[in-house]
């Protein structure tokens, strides 16, 4: 494990623009800018926000046996993982899943993108490039495969929010062509100018990029991969083009509150070194149609079958925005009898939502009540035993307060991540 703190190429930009910084995943990153975390969270829902995500790690897996190695190490069955019909992964498509160890515990979650036959791009979390690359290398044996850790060698920017496509229209060459048939979890182009795919997507200044319809906020948007030499130029170009759309830079605080409201797990917090079962992201595991087994062999499969009753990871939403702590000290979950049944993994304030009647609405909800001006709700994940069902009320208690929350299947409603681009261009 490295002790030094890394910086992305945008580090000085963040500092000179007044960002409040903190160390995350081994990198000194912006938590929020002078606009503040609340405004950043809300702006992603109403307009768009720009996130420096270059601290995340990219790994290339290439070679005749790349597919086979990924089938062994990655939880999704690449033969049957795309769309409702569970089509195979193919060039231009990506899929979300996990890397587990032999005990069925999470090493990291990841998005695997197929660039072409025998070439895959894996995106993992900040600081995890080395660990995931060496994990795959350990299992490669005599396979014909090359694993290249591109940590700090790729620049990445996330643009998230309903106006994301409208903003990119102004900075992409032939944007209509780029956006044509660009479905959720597809990508086009390449960041490497020597690749045959480079040039299929370029900025107006000629910079090649890989543009992916992914992101971590649960809202409509894209991830942009560029050579890190072009990162600052790309960032500033998009901000300038986004000015008339009120695009603002956003930090990790807004990223965290947006993703929790979208029920997306934070690696090493909501999913981690414990059995990867009994959670709400089971679509990452290659279950067969009747759920009785898996469609392929992969590292950790035996352990997942044999796990005794383990804790359950459930989502919750509170009744006001007040939070409990998740470390120093951790907050406990109390059942209706006041018995301690688990711990709180994540607790954030989603400032865009509020309760009205028996529903939670977001500022984006088309059917939100008149005059709806939410103050926000705390939300996140708990790890408990026994399993809790949606609708059940529990209390979260830290050394300061005790708050009532409801276990839920959904937190922030009416999220836009999957909306067709055509629809979002009309925004």
């Amino acid at each position: 494990m490295h002790e030094e703190i890394g910086n992305t190429p945008l580090h000085d930009w963040h500092l000179s623009h007044g960002a409040n910084m903190a160390v995350f995943g081994g990198y000194d990153m912006p938590l929020w800018y002078p606009s503040g975390a609340k405004k950043e969270h809300l702006t992603v829902l109403t307009n768009a926000g720009l996130f420096d995500t270059s601290h995340m790690a990219v790994i290339m897996v290439t070679g005749a046996d790349a597919f086979e190695l990924l089938q062994l190490c990655f939880t999704k069955d690449l033969n049957t993982c795309v769309g409702k019909k569970k089509a195979p992964l193919k060039p231009g498509r990506c899929v979300y899943g996990a890397y587990l160890n032999e005990h069925g515990e999470l090493i990291d979650d990841a998005i695997v993108s197929q660039i072409e036959d025998n070439i895959y791009m894996i995106v993992v979390n900040a600081g995890m490039g080395g660990d995931v690359a060496s994990h795959m290398t350990d299992y490669a044996d005599l396979r014909d495969v090359e694993i290249i850790d591109l940590t700090d060698k790729i620049g990445k920017i996330d643009i998230q929010g309903p106006m994301a496509a409208g903003i990119l229209m102004n900075v992409l060459k032939e944007p209509e062509k780029v956006f044509d048939e660009m479905f959720y979890f597809t990508f086009k182009g390449h960041f490497d100018s020597t690749s045959t795919f480079a040039g299929t997507v370029s900025f107006t200044d000629g910079t090649p990029l890989l543009l992916s319809r992914t992101g971590y906020t649960g809202e409509f948007g894209f991830e942009i991969f560029v050579n890190p030499d072009h990162l600052i130029g790309t960032w500033e170009m998009i901000l300038a083009a986004g000015k008339k759309f009120d695009l603002i830079p956003c930090g990790l605080a807004a990223r965290d509150s947006l993703r929790a409201g979208a029920l997306l797990p934070l690696s090493h917090q909501d999913i981690g070194p414990w059995p990867f079962v009994n959670h709400r992201w089971l679509f990452t595991l290659p279950y067969n149609d009747d759920g009785t087994g898996f469609t392929k062999k992969f590292i950790g499969d035996e352990a997942l079958h044999n796990i005794e009753e383990s804790e359950h990871t459930c989502a919750f939403a509170g009744y006001d925005l007040r939070k409990v702590s998740t470390h120093d000290p951790v907050a406990y979950v109390l059942d209706s009898a006041g018995k301690e049944i688990g711990t709180v993994l994540t607790c954030v304030s989603d400032m865009a939502i509020g309760r009205h009647g028996d529903r939670i609405y977001s500022i984006s909800s088309p059917d939100k009540p008149e005059g709806f001006n939410p103050k926000g709700l705390c939300c996140g994940f708990v790890k408990v035993k026994p399993k809790l069902l949606p609708g059940q009320i529990v209390e979260l208690k830290d050394n300061r307060r005790k708050i009532k929350v409801m276990i839920t299947d959904d937190i922030r409603p009416d999220r836009t991540a999957r909306r067709p681009i055509k629809e979002m261009l009309k925004v």
């Binding site: 960002a19 609340k38 605080a253 925005l321 954030v348 400032m351």
Partner: protein, 134 residues
């Protein structure tokens, strides 16, 4: 985040180690958190204040201030009885960020120990303490 040189630190108040400010107003002392604290906290979304009539000793916790990101305790810069609390913070907690020394005030205290005041830092001493901390 602000550099120390950018912080707004008036000299008509004194400062506690935990970044509360205290301003004498005749018989009473008004208290809030300073520009350094609000800058570090980020957007304040909730403030928990005590009841009028409660009494706390110097350095005792009197409430909490909650930002989007975290919850922090508030500590009495001097001991005394709570004479008034700023009820405007219920609807507008963001006043703590935008106007920490005036509209964002938190409590008014009837001090019960005159020695407590001397232990607080003047503006210059507080700036030195901040520099030392960094």
């Amino acid at each position: 985040m602000k550099e120390i040189s950018q912080l707004i630190l008036p000299d008509d108040v004194r400062y506690a180690e935990d970044h509360e400010w205290a301003r004498p107003e005749g018989e009473t002392v008004r208290v809030g958190i300073d520009d350094y604290a609000q800058d570090q906290l980020g957007d304040v979304v909730f403030v928990e204040l005590p009841q009028v009539g409660d009494t706390f000793a110097k350095d005792e916790e009197f409430g909490t201030v909650e930002s989007v990101k975290a919850v922090s305790e508030l500590y009495m810069p001097i001991g005394g009885e709570i004479l008034a609390v700023n009820t405007a913070l219920e609807e507008s907690p963001e006043l703590v960020n935008s106007d920490p020394y005036d509209g964002g005030w938190m409590i008014e205290i009837i001090p019960n120990n005159p020695d407590d005041w001397d232990a607080l830092m003047t503006r210059d001493a507080y700036i030195e303490a901040l520099k030392g901390g960094k």
